[in-house]
Subunit: 113 residues, 2 copies
DNA sequence: CTGAATCCGACGAGATACTG
DNA sequence: CAGTATCTCGTCGGATTCAG
C-alpha cells in the first residue's frame, strides 16, 4: 500500500479524500458547530444560542449533514418537551487536529504587509 | 483550560482563521490546481489539460483567487504566443501538509462496513 | 423545544462566443 | 495561448410559517 504521500498520489478527480473532507466542513456554520461540540455536548437550543444569526432550518440541515458524515451523534430523549443532544463522534474528534492545522495556516494569511 | 489550542480559543464567528483557510481551498478545482502545482510549475494550458472538464473562465477565476490569497504566483512572459506560468508560493507549499491531514481524515470516511 | 415546509435572493460554476 | 464577456442554472443560506 502506498499510503505515505496520499494527497499527491491519488490522481482521481472527483473522489479525492481531501476533497471529500473539505466538503464535510463546507457550510456556513459547520466549523462553528464542530467548535462548540469540541467543548462538550450541546442541545439544539444551546447551539442556536451560540451560533448567533443561524436559522433553525439551516442549523438543522447542517447538523443532519454532519451526522450523515459521521462527525457527530444525535441523541433524542423522548420527553416533553423534547430534548435533543449533539456530540462529536470519534471521527469528529479526529477532525480537531486537522482544524488546528487549518487554523495555523489561516493565521499566516493575514499577517503580511 | 489550555490556551495553546488556537482553534478552540478564538470565538470570533466570521473571521476564524480556520474558516479563512477553508474558504481559500473552496472551489470546484482549487485542490486539483494545488495538487498539480505541487508537482511543479505549470502553464495555463497544462492545467486545463490536466483538469479535465474545467472551462477557461472558471480556471482563470480560481487561479486568480488563489493568487490573491497568496497560494500561487502568476508569471507572464511577454512573448508571442503568450506564455503564463503558475507556481506555488512558500505559503502554498505550507498548505500541502495541511492537505495531507485532510486527505488522511477523508480516507477514514469511506472505510466503514 | 425541535424541526419540517415553503419561498426567495445570492453566488458559484458551466457553456459559449469573442479578443490581443 | 491565455484570457474576457455573457448567459444560464443549480445549490446554499436566510426568513417565515406550521407542527409534534
Amino acid at each position: 500500500m502506498d499510503s505515505e504521500s496520499g494527497y499527491l498520489e491519488s490522481h482521481d478527480h472527483s473522489n479525492c479524500p481531501a476533497e471529500v473532507a473539505l466538503r464535510v466542513m463546507q457550510g456556513r456554520w459547520k466549523l462553528l458547530i464542530i467548535r462548540e461540540l469540541a467543548e462538550g455536548v450541546r442541545r439544539f437550543s444551546d447551539l442556536q444560542r451560540s451560533l448567533v444569526g443561524v436559522s433553525q432550518k439551516v442549523l438543522t440541515s447542517q447538523l443532519r449533514e454532519l451526522e450523515a458524515d459521521g462527525v457527530l451523534d444525535r441523541t433524542v430523549y423522548p420527553e416533553v418537551p423534547p430534548r435533543v443532544e449533539y456530540a462529536l463522534t470519534e471521527r469528529g474528534q479526529a477532525l480537531l487536529p486537522v482544524l488546528e492545522g487549518l487554523h495555523a495556516w489561516g493565521q499566516g494569511l493575514q499577517s503580511p504587509s
